[in-house]
Amino acid sequence: MNELLWTYVGWPLLKILVILLALVLLAAYLSWFERKLLAYMQIRLGPNRVGPKGWLQPIADALKLFVKEDLTPGFAEKFVFLLGPVLIIVPALVVFSVIPFGPSPHLFITDVNIGVLFILAVSSIGVYGIILGGWASNNKFSLMGGLRSAAQMISYEVPMGFSVVTVLILAKSLSLVRIVEAQKQAGLWFVFPGFVAFLVYFICGVAETNRNPFDLPEAESELVAGYHTEYSGMKFAFYFLAEYANMVVVSSLATVMFFGGWLRPFPNVSALAFLDVIPPLVWFLLKVAFFLFLYIWFRGTFPRYRFDQLMGIGWKVLLPVSLVNLLVVAYFVSLPGGQV
């Protein structure tokens, strides 16, 4: 009985707690990493005052946001205003329950056989947080930010879905663990057969997380701060955290679906076996870090698209490209012996 309790309640809870904590810390440190990296690209030093070399800056930021006065504008719709941050942070964290960080069952919370669907479904709830937050603030800039975000997320969900389907065809499974294993069996990362799908996926991922060059919902120079203009203190911290958590999700998914998750490059080439000294978890994290670096690099380099152009790219470029790509991949897979 005791053992049962441990297996079904204790251990999962512990794992959830660890991953949650690690995730929140990761998101916080991601912001530090971003500030530092951006600063270095912009020939300055970035945060370096709190703690040694500025290592404690995210903690200081978190503390500041904790103790800050939590303002609710007088004209805001109080309940919905409160609901917004909750709706955005919860899906962002829940998604992590199905992401496998490594091959051993201790390294993921659960392996759902519809993992990809689960992620797509849950993460789209996040958009409600943005829309509701923007609407409830009763601020025109927030409203515009919320609307932009809604339109953006909906339009980019479609090509993203199609590019994910490409992977599903290749892996013949919806489970994320199975997808990685399929890549191991095939002996090659899915990014090679599905390069176009990967590109579409990553562009959509950048757009879905509202990051530069698609950071329209919070475009600072146009909409002040977009949907979170009126938020302060912890509520703002939730939005902030969710954005970074979402970045990690998109990067993790890209890693799992296209870059072999925890696998080393060319998992079946024995000449590269010496790479196995690096444990799978580290491989996974390295790949995720690379995508996060890309995110920040983009932010440091590109201007911002305009709203109509953003929609144009989503519907007129990415959607047809992902559809055609899907058809092509499906055709090759359906050929006799077309198993990748």
Binding site: L37, Y40, M41, I43, R44, L45, W297, T301, F302
Partner: protein
């Protein structure tokens, strides 16, 4: 669209050049000056905190007249004294106030001064205060000692013999 145009739109050379540029700067020398620990030394002609020398001042009131916003306030009286058996009169300063909080550091007072008794080339700029009305209102004692002003390293307040780093303005000419 031509083939090359299509190719150019597929391969985002323009975006990659941008990424290359920022990537290059990622490893370049950083421009930040870590302020309280490091300080850039202002140029010799840098116009900062006032220096004022009571001995040099001959109360011509040129600075008071030259100031565009009238922040210099001078009061004086005549005193008789004997020199070589002759009775002479000289002006003695009672009050020499500069309202530094309103100063725009235009240097017109220093240019008007025939004796170089007031100057701005002190390299000193750290005069911030929590309360500007009194902390940044300098009378002649405060001006001489730079009360509440952090002198730039190497510079001394006029009372301790600080001299201008550079003579900025004021033609060399005899007193009148």
């Amino acid at each position: 669209m031509s083939f090359w145009g299509l190719l150019a739109s597929v391969i985002p050379v323009d975006l990659l050049t941008g990424l290359k540029t920022t990537g290059k700067y990622l490893f370049s020398r950083k421009a930040t000056v870590q302020y309280p620990e490091e300080r850039k030394e202002p140029a010799d002609r840098f116009r900062g905190m006032f220096g004022y020398s009571l001995e040099r001042c001959n109360v011509c009131r040129g600075c008071e007249k030259a100031c565009p916003i009238g922040i210099i306030h001078i009061e004086s009286h005549w005193e008789e004294y004997e020199q070589d058996g002759k009775k002479r009169k000289k002006q003695v300063i009672d009050r020499y106030d500069i309202d530094v909080k309103r100063c725009m550091f235009c240097n017109l007072c220093a240019e008007a001064c025939p004796t170089e008794a007031v100057w701005l080339t002190t390299k000193t700029y750290e005069a911030a205060a929590y309360e500007r009305n009194h902390a940044l209102y300098f009378n002649k004692e405060k001006l001489m000692h730079w009360e509440g002003v952090k002198a730039f390293p190497g510079m001394k307040p006029p009372a301790e013999g600080g001299l201008p780093a550079f003579r900025l303005g004021g033609e060399e000419e005899e007193d009148h």
